[in-house]
Amino acid sequence: MLNGAVYSVVNSIQGTDMRYSFTDEQEQFRDFVRKFMSSHSATNAVRVQMETEQGYDRDVWKNLSESLGLPGLLIPEEYGGQGFGAIELGIALEEMGRSLLCAPYLGSSVLATTAILNTGTDKEKNQLLPDLAAGKKIAALALAEPSGQWDAASIETVAQESNGNYRINGTKSFVLDGSSADYIVVVARQENSVGEAGISFFIVDSSAAGLDKRLLDTVDETRKLSELKFTDVAAKPLGTVGDGAEALQQTLNLSYVALANEMMGGAQKLLENALEYAQLRVQFGRLIGSFQSMKHKLADLLMDVELAKSAVYYAAEAAAEGADDLPAVASLAKAFASDTYLKVAAACIQIHGGIGFTWENDTHLYFKRAKSSEVFLGGPDLHRERLIQNWQKS
């Protein structure tokens, strides 16, 4: 674990508006995470992991859990976690995004963990969270289906009850870390329910009979997605059956913020890479960074990245506070960060010229991450719609 001083700091300091700055301790936390990432998730390590089916290095995961306690960041101390909030989570994800960390972090420590935190009974949390916090178990959240929507109303997977026992039937897709998880948190609906009614969470063991897992061939090989088919699979309810829609939306709101911070970290790193290359590469007897077209492009990228930063930091603070405007700003951040990430990735390829289009150059790894993050948890058009629908201020 990190030394106590770092972890004793809580979210805000009196008199400072944390939406616009970090505490010294938070900056220190960032340094720790960044150092860890640069020694354990350099792009050559990423390239090795992305070729594997599991998609991550167990030793790195263990190390990240034991020395930094990152999987337990969001989990309260009473359940064995660090008891931090969305700000620290955002910092961790920004750094992971910078280095394209291959790990079940977003899938297990954010999506699944948040779902359990939002829906589980005290007893269930006591059972499940300590192992997640310690990184000893990996969980996945199975929400979207082949229709590719991450919302309650689109769920068709059904949980049937008989004598207090539940069986799940249906197909989940785009399940992050669905093949490497020890268990799956499944979002299903009660028979004959529609819309937001009847939404429930269940726990299914990864080796349950009737569960058929298939790793999907992903554009972004650093993120492992699976299709999970459930045929009469025995499932344990998580929390109260039937009224999970609200908890699901809360889980998603935080997940948008987490993903937005991750995307922004990637965009920032690409901007640095492009800037460095522009100051190295010579054509026509001059540095390409001396051409006005390159300068303008880089200046625009800096503007985009800095604006995106402000948006994702603001959203993280809103999530940490449980602010009223979270639903709106979480979507704002998701949409803006994904547009920015893609734009920066495309520009970074362009600034590198031909070499930027090669496998050997790292830019494509980020480009693919940007591409998949753009549509994961809903594309920017959908989030702009959610922003407008949820915007309350006059």
């Binding site: 554009v219 054509q283 007897g285 001059r286 289009f357 998949s372 549509v375």
Partner: protein, 420 residues
């Protein structure tokens, strides 16, 4: 030559085909007949396997050969660039040695221009050619070389004088690829294909008489090659789409299919890099995305710019046909193509939604959509970047003042990349 009418040419080639075509011949044997008769390359000069016909009549001949169901001269890959360049600039010795095998397809060619250190600034190349006795000794590295892995000849640009401005110290050679001093390594792209190669030359040898054009005048020769490249590029794009559709009958068709397979392999993804604007509307209709008002707009935008660009191309061709001076419309196609590709990729992403994360057989259209998304970034780089296109358009078409230059002195004094 112009006195020949289209009809008489058709008659003549048809009669010749009736007397000579035999689908049980080998490909090379048949194409040797074509070369001997001049019908293989009718627009080449009579003394070099041609009939001195106009390009229009040559197209008529090709049509006739196709309609007859016969096989034409080899015309895929870089060999047509090689032929055009050699016909215009090479000595009779070189033409005699190489042109025949271009027609028969026995030789395959690659173009050794781009280098790791010089892409936009092609004339800044640093591959070195030094005359030692009767041979040129070549050292340097080339990149983005299509087909080098199956070619046996390369069109090479190398520097022969470092004390003069960069364009004036370049010479143009024919390099024998199959020699110990030449190493070819595949270059993998971000879309997973490896259509290109890196070519390393370490004391590679070129006999003195394989210089094309005059010493230190290689840049002019290269301009001939590049001016034919755009035309070829259009053909290659089609090749990606239509390869190996011919139904094999006789021996010759089997050989032809095998040749096409090898030669078209690097171009498989070329249609995708243009963004597949042709698919956007149907995809949106088939998936129902067309009913989403946001997606509908983006599909319409992609369609609009695609159509407008096509019509611009037609305006340019029509003006050319009518012999009118070329207007700006002829210089914008390359830059517009980047916009088209991006707009189409955007429409595809929206239409495809979450499935945009999947490739291969899990991806939409069996991975074609993912390939579009991962190939489009090449459009604004390959064949001259968008920035370079904008420079050309602003300076040469719009007549704006030129950028001040810092690379006009002796090449040895011009700052350049340090390449390993």
């Amino acid at each position: 030559m112009t006195e020949l009418s289209e009809e008489s040419v058709r008659m003549e080639v048809r009669t010749w085909l009736e007397q000579n075509w035999d689908e049980n011949l080998g490909l090379v044997e048949w194409r040797s007949r074509l070369a001997g008769s001049g019908w293989g390359r009718p627009n080449w000069p009579q003394e070099w396997y041609g009939r001195g016909l106009s390009n229009n009549l040559a197209t008529v001949v090709q049509e006739e050969i196709r309609q007859f169901g016969a096989v034409g001269a080899a015309d895929s890959g870089v060999r047509m660039l090689a032929a055009a360049t050699l016909l215009e600039h090479a000595t009779d010795y070189i033409k005699d040695k190489l042109l025949h095998k271009i027609i028969t397809g026995e030789d395959a060619w690659c173009q050794l221009f781009s280098e790791p250190g010089s892409g936009s600034d092609l004339a800044g190349l640093t591959t070195k050619a030094e005359l030692k006795g009767d041979n040129w000794i070549i050292n340097g590295q080339k990149v983005w070389t299509t087909s080098a892995h199956h070619a046996n000849h390369g069109l090479l640009l190398a520097r022969t004088d470092w004390d003069v401005p960069k364009h004036k110290g370049i010479s143009y050679f024919v390099l024998d690829i199959l020699q110990p001093g030449v190493e070819v390594r595949p270059l993998r792209q971000m879309n997973g294909h490896a259509s290109f190669n890196e070519v390393f030359m370490t004391n590679a040898v070129i006999p003195k008489d394989m210089l094309v054009g005059k010493l230190n005048h290689g840049w002019e020769v290269a301009m001939t090659t590049l001016s034919h490249e755009r035309r070829l590029a259009d053909g290659l794009r089609q090749m990606g789409g239509t390869a190996s559709k011919s139904k094999s009958k006789g021996k010759i068709f089997k050989e032809l299919a095998a040749e096409l397979k090898v030669e078209s392999a690097p171009y498989k993804w070329y249609p995708q890099r243009a963004g597949r604007p042709d698919l956007t509307v149907n995809r949106a209709r088939e998936t129902g995305a067309i009913n989403d008002p946001v997606i509908r707009q983006e599909v319409a935008k992609a369609l609009t710019i695609h159509q407008a660009n096509q019509w611009t191309g037609r305006r340019a061709r029509q003006a050319q046909k009518l012999g009118r001076p070329p207007g700006p419309e002829g210089s914008l196609g390359k830059l517009a193509a980047s916009h088209v590709a991006r707009a189409a990729a955007r429409a595809h992403t929206l239409t495809t939604g979450a499935n945009s994360m999947l490739k291969g057989s899990d991806g939409d259209l069996n991975g074609i959509i993912a390939e579009v998304l991962l190939s489009v970034p090449a459009v604004s780089i390959a064949g001259g970047t968008d920035e370079i296109q904008r420079n050309i358009i602003s300076e040469r078409v719009l007549g704006l003042p030129k950028e001040p230059r810092s690379d006009t002195g002796p090449f040895k004094d011009v700052p350049r990349n340090v390449v390993s």
